[in-house]
């Protein structure tokens, strides 16, 4: 990592030198400031981000030390650095952790910079709202996102069944699954992955029923009857061979490469709109996206435009003003916008969207159109989840889905265990 950073710095330094030379000024090596930036993501995101940091260094002379890690490695590292009082100035933050970090003053409120270093005049109101904790702004949304069902269109063609539209329902999913079973393509490819483990899918299904994963005051937003019905529905889909077997599903341990879509075991995968780019990069078959299935025709409101991720500024940073200036550049500079595209989601300022739209490739266009045209699928942004949500997801939702899948528990038992276990974790947090 350090070698990579060194080369980075060398590249940044030399590009600054070139830029300065091109502008006809003699280069000055006395840099005014240097900022540290940390983010999670893959190589594609890193290339874009480094493109912008290079641009910033060339424009402002501020040295940028940017580092990236995979999601699973990111949070331990960030927490350790924060605990050691050595947090980077600019931190990529997630909806899941923003409350936790803000409440502990690990990230700084940005309100004092708004109107000054940070110009948010044409920023989407709902995206601004998403970055607030207790009424104060702690994160600048880097893009709007929605959950989306990724579709392997080549597989649908082979089966000879139409790719679903945003109007489709869980009943349609059953029909599609039957068609896949009859066609028996590619060694028994199923219609969809086992979504009973998927927190976003449960969330969407609950919202269509007028419930929620969590209420505004951090309580569970559904009851045992909901949970039992959820597991029963998936048990039916599993028994009918519409979704993959529990044994296959357990091969999915998180990375894109282990998902049922990439392994070719399912043609549909619940995911996020901005991830189409990343999935398409590692797959031969053409991908498209539609909304999640509706619980019945005409029902909607399960989706929402969620901030895909934020940039926050460390509470311990001595250069908060300079960091805010960089954030402003990142979200509003036209050249930066062209480099960033929609890899982090749809840009949140109208002016930036207009700059980006004509420059997009096919997958990014699909994502942009999908998020812009959610129609009646779109509902209100839910409150940010309580601190224990991550643990409930990891140790209950994912495990209970498997236990029903492998026949270790009935849907009734799993439903009761989910609600009791979640309440238990919430009361302890």
């Amino acid at each position: 990592m350090s070698i990579r950073l060194d080369r980075r710095q060398f590249l940044m330094g030399s590009s600054a030198l070139l830029a300065a030379g091109a502008a006809g000024i003699s280069p000055s090596f006395a840099q005014a400031e240097s900022l540290r930036l940390i983010f999670w993501g893959g190589q594609a995101r890193a290339d874009r981000t480094y493109g912008v940091t290079d641009l910033y260094t060339a424009a402002k002379g501020t040295q940028m030390e940017a580092e990236f890690l995979a999601w699973n490695d990111y949070w331990p590292k960030l927490a350790t650095q924060t605990a050691g009082g050595n947090a980077p100035d600019i931190i990529q933050m997630d909806y899941r952790y923003i409350v936790e970090y803000a409440k502990r003053n690990a990230i700084a409120p940005l309100d004092e910079f708004v109107g000054g270093a940070l110009n948010l005049a044409d920023f989407d109101a709902d995206q601004l709202e998403g970055g607030k904790v207790d009424g104060k702004l702690y994160g600048i949304s880097l893009g709007a996102n929605s959950v989306a069902m990724l579709v392997n269109t080549a597989a649908f063609e082979e089966v000879g069944v139409a790719v679903p539209t945003n109007a489709w329902t869980f009943d349609d999913l059953m029909t599609i699954g039957e068609a896949f079973k009859t066609a028996n393509i590619r060694g028994g490819m199923k219609a969809i992955m086992d979504g009973s483990y998927s927190e976003p899918m449960l969330d969407n299904w609950l919202r269509q029923r007028g419930k929620a994963l969590y209420t505004a005051d951090g309580k569970l937003g559904y009851d045992e009857a909901d949970a039992v019905e959820w597991y029963t529905m998936w048990a039916k889909l599993r028994a009918a061979g519409v979704c993959v077997s529990a044994e296959d599903q357990a091969l999915d341990t998180g990375p894109l490469e282990t998902t049922m879509l990439v392994l070719g075991k399912a043609a549909l995968l619940p995911s996020n709109s901005n991830q189409l780019v990343a999935f398409q990069a590692i797959m031969q078959d053409n991908l498209d996206m539609v909304g999640y299935p509706r619980i019945e025709a005409g029902k909607g409101g399960g989706h929402y435009r969620k901030p895909s991720m934020f940039f926050s500024i460390a509470g311990s940073s001595a250069k908060q003003e300079a960091a805010a200036e960089f954030l402003n550049f990142f979200i509003s500079d036209p050249e930066a916008a062209k480099i960033l595209g929609v890899e982090r989601g749809i840009p949140c300022s109208a002016a930036t969207r207009d700059i980006v739209a004509p420059t997009l490739d096919e997958q990014s266009q699909i994502a942009l159109n999908f998020v812009a045209n959610l129609g009646d699928l779109l509902g209100p942004l839910p409150p940010s989840p309580p601190a224990a949500a991550g643990e409930i997801d990891a140790s209950l939702i994912r495990t209970l889905g498997q236990e029903v899948g492998f026949g270790a528990k009935t849907p009734e038992q799993a439903g009761a265990d989910l609600v009791n276990g979640a309440n238990d974790i919430l009361s302890r947090a």
């Binding site: 350790t80 044994e247 296959d248 091969l251 341990t253 998180g254 991550g390």
Partner: protein
Amino acid sequence: MQDTSRSSTDHQPVVHTAWSRFWQNDAPGYLFLLPWLIGFLGLTIGPMATSLYLSFTDFDLLTSPDWVGADNYIRMFSNDPKFWTSMRVTMFFVVFSVPLKLAFALAVAMLLNRGIRGLPLYRALFYLPSLLGASVAIAILWRQIFAGDGLVNKLLAMVGIIGPSWISNPNYSLWTLIVLSIWQFGSPMIIFLAGLRQIPTDMYEAASLDGASKWRQFVKITLPLLTPVVFFNAIIQTIEAFKSFTPAFIISGGTGNPINSTLFYTLYLYQEAFSFFRMGYASALAWVLLALVGLFTAFSFFTSKYWVHYDE
């Protein structure tokens, strides 16, 4: 030099002599010891003391720790099903992987002990998995081999058996990790081999003259004379098994799935510390593990006098 020393001896004879003796005789030793000592205090004793302190707090990495007394330990034993799940998984792993691995290591060592051509090559080959064993690459390779459409099932398919997906089926996933651990038999094997070389060959000659079968020679000569080596290997491998982390982490993507069937104790500890930010609780878990391994080792030493022979 000597003059000055003599003149100061007149003032404070005893102190100075002791000091100069220390300076001349002992100081170089301590000086050479210093790097290790600094490392020992700074990297072992310091962190251990901190972790012991943190185990009585609710430290969450982001805010300063608050003292909670024995709460962490009480919760562990009275109100944490996952603690018991991870304990059961780890115990199962230790109980099956250690004896099987030792038996396999001894069998291979006996094979290699007979003078065969290219012995060094075989020794190196058999040791190789142990060198690579705990690495990420091997765990990923193992994942490929034991997946539903992996090498193992392709071989089974040749004889008409349709195998399950060994790593993602909760009935087999832990066994897959046990097989992986047995495969890393290299280091106990090398130690067994050294032990076997120490047994005088005339004992076997005498025994075979008396008409003792190979099996009887093994039971009556090899095993008893090898017990100190068996004892050593058993202790080391048991501690290793308790600490085992990487393979389970890689094969389950850090989750301990399917259905917590590979939730090793260390994996659970890691989850509590770095996924759920409960450093205090994780520290308490670590100390319980230390106590457990200590108990096991003490028990082994206690029973060893009944079966380990150090005669001659």
